[in-house]
């Protein structure tokens, strides 16, 4: 568990958090959208460009070797951090791309690419793809598209009123026709932590691939993909204290080596002829073209920073913040929160609507008090429609979030309705 003194020292590691915004101390509660970066991550990119920049996996000069070593060390560190083997981590530009690599890889297999070993990935009429009603659009639209491309049926697991998945119908929705079960580890709106074991067990029973969106879990709790036993998973660098422009796809080694690539071109082949091509094994087969090398190095540094803090400590700190934020938001009159109450089943990401005041106006008022939150549908329109809300305000924490940040937010929230003349 992190003490208050440790959390304030952590906060000081993030130079951006030291500034004033609109005449107030900055309370950054938009970490669910993107996290801030500690000095070591910023330094790692500067150091890479200052001392080691070169093309990776090409060329044999000393700088090229140093750059390749740094790039692959970032992969090894990140793989260890999420309980994966090094060759099971594929770099993408973000988590959205990672999920699309799986969906369109399956589409390519369904169109006949990949030979016999890709047969397990083929879908067509009579098959089904299942996602959930709480998905971020990034883990929804690619599956809708895949269904359209292949003629498979698209289904979803619905949301219950309390912000959890309604799993009473799990056995009938995920059935013998299901080839893919895609779901998020943690809801980016509700903060709900989903029962991965139960969902993966059902996927295993019917022989479906289990695809996990881990964007909101990897930055906030210990995650071990081997232990979770998922087939594929996606997460993004910029939400876990790392740079933008870098995301990762995890896949079980045997699956990655069989999945047809989506992006093809340089650096992902073994032999090219004018009428044939052989691809490299994973991860290189998915990394065509020049890669975001400095970003990988920065992400490696972020992983090192989080490892040093200890993800158990990070999770315990954020669980405390979750309880504090939920209780605090629930105390403000005229505020309706969506998402589960229980501590331990949610992360410190709290979405709500304010009676009589649109989320954009709430966010504007909070911003004037130095409080940065997200407003809108958070790339989850079906979820909002399910709760009959057009837009919510979301306060989301990270390891550097302090109780003072929460108090500043809750104090400002309490004044919103008065300012807009609705209380």
């Amino acid at each position: 568990m992190l003490t208050d003194a440790e959390v304030s020292r952590i906060r000081n590691d993030f130079p951006i958090l030291g500034q004033e915004v609109n005449g107030h101390r900055l309370a950054y509660l938009d970490s669910g959208a993107t996290s801030q970066k500690p000095q070591c991550v910023i330094d790692a990119e500067v150091d890479f460009y200052s001392a080691r920049n070169s093309a990776v996996h090409r060329g044999a000069h000393s700088l090229a070797v140093a750059a390749t070593d740094a790039y692959e060390a970032g992969r090894a560190d990140t793989a260890r951090f999420v309980g994966a083997a090094t060759n099971e981590i594929v770099w993408t530009k973000n988590a959205t791309e990672a999920l699309n690599v799986v969906a369109y890889g399956l589409a390519n297999a369904s169109a006949g690419l990949g030979g016999a070993e890709a047969e397990r990935f083929r879908l067509g009429p009579g098959d089904s793809i299942v996602a959930t009603q709480m998905e971020h659009h990034a883990n929804l639209i690619p599956w809708q598209q895949l269904a359209r491309l292949t003629g498979a049926e698209f289904r979803y697991l619905p949301l219950a009123d309390d912000g959890r998945l309604e799993l009473d119908g799990l056995e009938s929705i995920v059935d013998s026709s299901t080839k893919v079960l895609a779901f998020t580890h943690v809801s980016n709106v509700l903060g709900t932590i989903n029962p991965v074991a139960r969902l993966v067990a059902r996927a295993r029973q019917v022989g479906a691939l289990a695809v996990l969106d881990a964007c909101q879990s990897v930055p906030h709790m210990p995650v071990d993909f081997h232990a979770l036993d998922v087939d594929f998973a996606a997460f993004s660098g910029h939400k876990m204290l790392g740079p933008t422009g870098i995301g990762a796809l995890y896949g079980r080694a045997e699956l990655l080596d069989a999945l047809p690539p989506v992006l093809t071109g340089g650096s992902m082949i073994t032999t090219v002829d004018m009428d044939s091509v052989e691809f490299m094994p994973a991860p290189q087969r998915f990394e065509a073209g020049t890669q975001p090398v400095a970003q990988v190095v920065g992400l490696g540094s972020a992983v090192g920073y989080l490892t040093e803090l200890g993800m158990d400590n990070v999770a315990a700190h954020e669980a405390e913040l979750a309880e504090y934020l939920v209780a605090g938001v629930d105390r403000v009159p005229g505020v309706r929160r969506i998402g589960p109450d229980a501590a331990g089943e949610r992360i410190a990401s709290v979405a709500f609507e304010v009676e009589g005041v649109h989320a954009h106006d709430v966010g504007q008022y909070l911003d004037a008090q130095g409080v940065a939150v997200r407003v809108g549908h958070h790339c989850a329109q079906p979820l909002h429609r399910r709760y009959r809300i057009a837009a919510t305000t979301r306060a989301s924490a990270a390891v550097y979030t302090t109780q003072e940040d929460c108090d500043q937010f809750l104090g400002a929230l309490a004044d919103v309705r008065k300012f807009f003349g609705v209380s």
Partner: protein, 159 residues
């Protein structure tokens, strides 16, 4: 006045509640509507705000009659309300002149003085121009009216 108070002037908050012109739409039924009719649905994809604006051009006087329905933040709702009230006294060409002035004001980053004579209550939106993230909110209904008006005029041309 702070930037926030300039953004949320009382006149804007009042219009956001009043919602002038926010009434049942005629839609496709076409009952009793002018032959010069247009309708436009606009969405702000970042926040999900949406508005449908209908316009009828009086065939004799050329005057506009506007009705709208939608949901959104106080800036977008107030803007639709102000626009509906303004548009009543205008014909299509006059609306275009006002719209251009409003558009320019919104993109001025707070550096242009609003022409109150031309813009009326819409001049109160000057404070919005200092908040680039909110300009789209203010312009949503104006885009919808511009679009529906173009349709109404086309409807006239095809007769």
């Amino acid at each position: 006045m702070s930037d926030l108070e300039q953004l949320y002037q009382q006149i804007i908050l009042d219009h956001a509640k009043e919602r002038y012109g926010n009434k049942p739409l005629i839609g496709d039924t076409g009952q009793g509507r002018s032959p010069l009719f247009g309708s436009s649905h606009q969405v702000n994809p970042t926040c999900g705000d949406e508005i449908t604006m209908e316009v009828e051009i009086d065939p004799d006087t050329g005057r506009l009659a506007v009705r709208w329905d939608g949901q959104g933040c106080s800036i977008s709702m107030a803007s639709a309300s102000v626009l509906s009230e303004l548009a009543e006294d205008l014909d299509a060409a006059e609306f275009e002149e006002v719209r251009e002035a409003f558009h320019e004001l919104m993109h001025s980053r707070g550096k242009v003085e609003a022409d109150e004579e031309l813009l009326g209550d819409a001049a109160a939106f000057q404070g919005v121009s200092k908040f680039p993230a909110r300009i789209k909110c203010a312009l949503l209904s104006w885009m919808a009216l511009k679009d529906s008006l173009a349709q109404a005029r086309t409807a006239g041309g095809s007769q």
